[in-house]
């Protein structure tokens, strides 16, 4: 007679243990929202934005030119709303470009800077100052805050990049036989405590794409979508992606266009 309650008790405790992680997970997600919101109005990414705006308006590079003649797609010097309609096809360059690739192109053609250096040293190391490209990208993306994303998928070149990006997203490679989709094609998944957005759904693509560039608390730096692509490839143990390469632009075109209709909320703030 005594053994039955004991078994029941044991079963009950097993059930409680099994259900605890799920409950804790849901609660933690909400609590992180609180943490992020407490800093949203005073996001340190504003420091990168200040630096980017300053760079945009100051003559620089071997040719001593400002970037105010740079056409981000809406006409020379126009930054308001430009990020929300990128990537797009640029006839002068003959290819589809995301913001960062376009900025490198402008800094090269207008200011005479070295494209290999801009691409090779695109991101700041921990504790080091924000790079020109990070500052510019963060500031210009911020100039599209609250705009609705409208990547021009009616441009045939953009459509082609989208299809290529989608293929790359699901392409398994490297020593771990990993693809982007390995981590980002199921809902409700996470790595440790960080939620992984399901980028194959509209909501997932919107929540991810519209909050980049972002201030990355763990690195004390503003990070951009090109950085995200390069670092995801590193985590997959793939060969190093080149900043501004067609692979990065195609992946970004797929991600951005999948989020079309979402409202830009960059710069964001993440763990």
């Amino acid at each position: 007679m005594n053994t039955i309650p004991r078994v029941v008790l044991r079963l009950a405790s097993v059930l409680i243990l099994a259900s605890t992680p799920a409950l804790t997970f849901a609660a933690e997600e909400n609590l992180f929202d609180e943490y992020r919101q407490m800093m949203a109005d005073d996001n340190p990414a504003q420091l990168a934005e200040m630096q980017g705006e300053e760079y945009w308006k100051t003559a620089g590079g071997p040719k001593k030119q400002t970037l105010q003649g740079c056409d981000l797609g809406l006409g020379p010097g126009k930054t308001q709303g430009a990020y929300a309609v990128l990537p797009r096809f640029f006839a002068d360059a003959g290819r589809v470009m995301d913001l960062e690739t376009r900025l490198i192109w402008c800094m090269t053609t207008i200011q005479g800077r070295d494209p290999a250096e801009l691409s090779g040293k695109a991101f700041s190391k921990q504790g080091q100052p924000t790079t020109d490209l990070e500052g510019l990208t963060t500031w210009i993306a911020g100039q599209s805050r609250d705009r609705v994303l409208a990547v021009p998928v009616d441009q045939p070149q953009v459509r082609a990049a989208f299809e290529e990006g989608k293929r790359l997203f699901f392409y398994r490679a490297g020593p771990y036989d990993f693809s982007c989709a390995s981590c980002h094609s199921q809902s409700g998944k996470r790595i440790r405590l960080t939620s992984l957005p399901n980028l194959t759904t509209h909501d997932g693509a919107v929540s991810a794409y519209t909050t980049w560039p972002t201030y990355r608390v763990s690195q004390g730096a503003a990070r951009t979508m090109q950085w995200r692509m390069v670092d995801c490839a590193r985590q997959q143990r793939l060969p190093e992606l080149i900043v501004g390469s067609p692979v990065t632009v195609s992946l970004l075109t797929y991600l951005a266009a999948s989020a079309n209709g979402g409202k830009m909320a960059a710069p964001g703030l993440k763990r």
Partner: protein, 103 residues
């Protein structure tokens, strides 16, 4: 020296609310770089904020203040045309001062 600070200030009901973001690594001296070498301590030790010439906040910080520090406070008074300035000094002798004019 150092990068510009982002200072925001708003006059509200006879008070001025000030928010400051400072670009600074705030290295504790305990972190190691990718080659395993200790990164030397580098952090802001003193901060002074002024409304025109009057000191409205002073602070002494240790390395446990977060990277790219933020501080927010409110003082009585403040009128359009007044200045709000913030100055900092770090343990390596670097200093910086920025100011804004109240709108």
């Amino acid at each position: 020296m150092g990068s510009p600070m982002k200072i925001r200030a708003a006059i509200k009901d006879g008070r001025t609310e000030v928010k400051v973001l400072i670009s600074h690594p705030m290295e504790t001296g305990l972190r190691k770089d990718s080659e395993g070498k200790a990164v030397p301590a580098h952090y802001i030790t003193e901060v002074v904020a002024r409304h025109n010439e009057r000191v409205v906040l002073s602070a002494i910080w240790g390395p446990a203040v977060s990277q790219n520090p933020f501080v927010q406070f409110q003082f009585a008074g403040g009128a359009p045309g007044d200045t709000v300035s913030v100055a900092w000094k770090d343990n390596q002798g670097d200093t910086r001062s920025d100011q804004l004019t109240l709108a």
